[in-house]
């Protein structure tokens, strides 16, 4: 029987010199996962870039629930995307896209309200 895979969705904010396309962001995260945790770690991560907005720098990344600490460490260690200085910040983490959307929008509303 196939076991149900629990996933986590991460809302990300990409900052740096210039807009970065979807492939560049995913490549940067993959490079760091492979660099820090190797091919075995990479195979457990189940990385998939669900959404990426070049203009605003927001992105949504999916990973496996078990690999979440590993993926967060890899994201934090990104310092360059396509050889240009950059940083990726994790805004929120959630178990479903719907909940992630709610969390991000409520946080944004709270911030604009303040």
């Amino acid at each position: 029987m196939t076991k149900f895979v629990r996933r986590r969705y991460l809302a990300l904010k990409v900052e740096g010199e210039g807009p970065f396309d979807r492939k560049a962001v995913l490549d940067a995260v993959w490079d760091n996962v492979l660099c820090l945790f190797g091919e075995v770690g990479g195979s457990q991560a189940g990385l998939y870039l669900v959404h990426s907005d070049e203009a605003t720098g927001y992105a949504v990344l999916r990973c496996s629930h078990r690999a979440l600490p590993m993926v967060k460490a890899a994201i934090a260690s990104v310092t360059k995307i396509r050889s240009r200085p950059a940083a990726i910040h994790v805004l929120r983490v959630s178990g479903s896209l719907k909940a992630l959307h709610k969390k991000v929008t409520s946080a944004t509303e709270a911030r604009s309200y303040l």
Partner: protein
Amino acid sequence: MKFSDLHLRVPLNDMDQARRMIAKSSELGYSQIGVPLPFGIKQDTIDQLRQFSEEFDVDLVTRLDLTPKNPSELLGCLRRFRRRFEVVSVLCGSKPLARQAAKDRRVDLLSFRAIESGKRFFDWAEAELASKSSAAFEIDLSQVLSIEGFLRVGFLSCLRREAARAKSFGVPVVLSSGATDVLLLRKPQDYASLALLFDMDASLAFEALSKNPFGIVERNREKQGSGYVVPGVRIVKEKTGDSR
């Protein structure tokens, strides 16, 4: 939870960049930042930094990074400058210096800039000395971010040993950014994730980003306050002439 970054290396010759870095720290969730300042810093510069920190609602902590050549120079520097700064860190470049810094109660942070394990002196003896004084072990996370490949392999292995040593001797650890640029700054939660790379669990990492640095600053501010006498003793009320 409130977070502190005791090592934000803002460029003092570029106030726009300094302002941007302070703003970013505030945005990332820090409520306290420590800025390393040189001995002869002008009061105007400090005032300007304070103005920025008030603007972005963060508490500015003045920090001094000492890089003496030998233990006697360290003692001289501590005697001259300790009272002027809220946090004093010593960059331990040699073993005798590291030992003296670990023994001295006036030192708040023990920093080791070298990446090679042979040039870092946070061994068992150092940890034992630090556990008896009030010094904390500082880990600068910009070093983890700025290197890669075999250098990072060695460095992470070194940090893993040192973090375990600090834990076993009860030496407080302080995680700081050491950032010189906005793009090197990370959220406290991201730093806790990075600490996982050297087997520091999340609760200890959050302590190192929150409880430990706040404790150091609070203790030093109390010492610099007017009523302080010795640890545990402070003047609550002055005796007036006619009271008995």
